[in-house]
């Protein structure tokens, strides 16, 4: 992987040819302001070329490339979706026991006219914000806040919408001391019988227990270039290949695509991303997701509660069920 100092940080390594074209287009635009001659033609030719090149690159992405896109520094985060899809968001803070975890946010908003509970991992942009958000790695108080909000949603019959995007739960001394494992386990138990519809969407990277801790649901969406792994590719490579250098191979081996996950009955729906990924057109992505969420809320809200819970339970029990061979 050639990481040159000239690499455009807004583009991943395999997107660099696109970045080069885009920078040429920008240069021409600058020249264009002095000299209109034929420049517009040239720009539109290059834009066509960039479009075709993007289509070509994105038509055959490897699991590792998709893993990189899922963590793209410009990728929309939970707050972006909240801003672009919902109205009148009231963020609710704290687990009532210890602290407010800013790596996992939640609150009440309207989706059109429907009050909904939103819960999602939150990463930061830029060093300060990243540190503040603990790189999207919640501690026990984050999961306990999530649980509190889920139970609140249950009391007021609000559908719960979760947004999954985390490298994992925080692996630290304080995290362990306060029972990170229990905080995840208890969420799994509570979500399995929460008396309101739960719709989960993997928007970025969904790694391990820290992801599924807000992922038990009636319907699971995955954005096209998101990933859902039992462990990060680096972690898997370290354990099974004895070196994190084999992260691409690990992603490949675990890299069950969302299509395959649909076949396995784990993922219900893959939501297509705009050309070049969600970050190239955040509004477009948000609009696509909104349409699906509205339809899904409508569908699950109409279901009888006992039926919904029975369906959720059967779905959970079906994962890895041993069918007669």
């Amino acid at each position: 992987m050639a990481v040159s100092e000239f690499m455009n940080p807004d583009y991943l390594d395999f997107e660099q040819p696109i970045a080069e074209l885009e920078s040429k287009i920008n240069e021409l635009r600058l020249v264009g302001s002095d000299n209109k001659l034929n420049i517009n033609d040239e720009i539109s030719k290059l834009q066509d070329k960039s479009h075709r090149l993007t289509e070509k690159i994105f038509s055959s992405l490897t699991p590792w490339q998709i893993s990189q896109l899922a963590r793209h520094p410009l990728r929309p985060y939970t707050e972006d979706y909240i801003r672009l899809i919902f109205n009148d968001f009231d963020e609710l803070h704290g687990d009532r026991y210890f602290a407010d975890d800013t790596a996992l946010i939640g609150g009440i908003a309207y989706l059109e006219q429907i009050p909904v509970m939103l819960i999602g991992h939150q990463k930061g942009r830029g060093t300060t914000e990243k540190v503040k958000r603990n790189f999207g790695m919640p501690k026990p108080e984050g999961y306990r806040k999530a649980r509190r909000l889920m139970l609140l949603a249950e009391r007021y019959r609000m559908p719960v919408l979760t947004f999954i995007d985390t490298p994992g739960a925080y692996p630290g001394v304080d995290s362990e001391a306060r029972g990170i494992n229990e905080s995840i386990a208890e969420n799994l138990a509570v979500m399995s019988r929460l008396r309101t519809p739960i719709i989960a969407t993997v928007t970025g990277e969904g790694n391990s227990g820290g992801a599924i801790a807000i992922g038990v649901c009636d319907h699971l969406n995955m954005l096209q270039y998101s990933t859902y792994f039992v462990i990060s590719p680096e972690g898997c490579a370290t354990i099974l290949w004895k070196s994190s250098d084999h992260k691409a191979a690990a992603a490949e081996a675990m890299g069950v695509t969302s299509t395959r996950l649909e076949e396995l009955g784990i993922v219900d729906q893959t939501i297509a991303e705009p050309l070049g990924g969600a970050h190239r057109d955040m509004k477009g992505m948000a609009e696509r997701l909104k349409v699906q969420l509205l339809e899904q809320i409508d569908r699950f809200s109409k279901m009888n509660m006992e039926e919904l819970l029975e369906r959720r339970y059967r779905r959970l029990m079906s994962h890895g069920a041993q069918r007669p061979r």
Partner: protein, 305 residues
């Protein structure tokens, strides 16, 4: 010096292996404590329930041995014995998953990492699940999840309490996301047990990590650990790399968890059977099998509701 017990048993050994050549140690006669490195007479170690008589270290034992130590000798029946793993994803790292499964089956004699039995503990009807750490690190994949669900279902059907001895490195990476889903599956099943007011005892045995610690192992009505067992979510290497500082003394030991309020009690292996059966008696007084009363197939000893 302090090897008095060795002096005592020496003549016995001489009888067992009278012609032991020079210093060769006949296999299966001697064991070494992995903690204090004392050379132990295997039979003594076994009689001491695989706890080092010198330093009290609780040695790792197989799932079958665990069940043998815990359950009453008669009236045992295995649940889900015929369930075998399949390599749905055709996973391959440095080795093929299929080959790892074959090797693990050969070395442990098990088909996967969980053994489940229905039986009795000091007369109380019970379903017991025990993880086999020797089978790919006791990792939880679809077979473990399925058998755990079957254990819960048997409890629901016969109104029995559940005991699980968890020892596991976590979710099984070779089954990728299907393994992760087992965390949700087992936790959801346990929730049913709770709703039916059937007690669940989670016994945490060295070591319990990852997805198993963050699901079924931490959801006991009563969480019990063996002394000094390592219990955590993230491995210590990962934590060290993240925080870049020395980890506190005793970090992630059973005693650390007790201090931090994560478990109810630490119970010595010698007392495990007595303590849990007594707790079952307190939580399910009606389920106590009285003298001469046998478990019936339809579970008529279940509490009347």
């Amino acid at each position: 010096m302090s090897n008095k017990w060795i002096d005592k048993i020496l003549p016995k050994i001489m009888k067992v292996a009278p012609s032991a050549k020079s210093r060769s140690v006949p296999e299966g006669i001697w064991s070494k404590c992995p903690k204090c490195e004392a050379v132990l007479y295997a039979e003594n170690l076994r009689d001491n329930l695989d706890v080092c008589p010198k330093c009290d270290h609780h040695l790792r034992i197989s799932a079958r041995r665990r069940l043998e130590l815990f359950l009453d000798a008669d009236g045992q029946s295995e649940i889900g014995a015929d369930i075998e793993p399949t390599d749905i994803l055709k996973f391959k790292d440095l080795k093929k998953y299929k080959d790892r499964l074959t090797a693990a089956a050969k070395s442990t004699g098990e088909k996967d990492a969980l053994v489940v039995k229905e039986g009795r503990v000091n007369g109380h009807g019970v379903v017991v699940a025990a993880f086999e750490f020797g089978f790919i690190g006791g990792s939880m994949g679809s077979v473990v999840g399925e058998k755990f669900m079957m254990a819960v279902n048997r409890c629901l059907e016969k109104r029995l309490p559940l005991v699980c001895f968890a020892t596991s490195g976590g979710a099984r990476m070779q089954e990728a996301l299907i393994s992760l889903m087992q965390m949700a599956k087992t936790s959801a099943a346990l929730e049913r047990l709770k709703q039916e007011r059937l007690p669940y005892f989670s016994v945490l045995v060295d070591p319990v990590y990852g997805g198993v610690s963050a699901s079924l192992a931490m959801l006991g009505d009563i969480n019990i650990a063996e002394p000094r067992a390592y219990i955590g979510f993230a491995g210590q290497d990962v934590i060290r790399q993240t925080v870049r500082e020395k980890l506190p003394e005793g970090f992630q030991r059973a005693e650390f968890l007790l201090d931090h309020g994560a478990i109810d009690m630490i119970v010595h292996r010698h007392q495990m059977k007595t303590r849990i059966s007594a707790l079952i008696g307190k939580l399910l007084p009606d389920a106590r099998v009285r003298e001469g009363q046998l478990l019936t197939r339809n579970g008529s000893i279940g509490r009347s509701r």
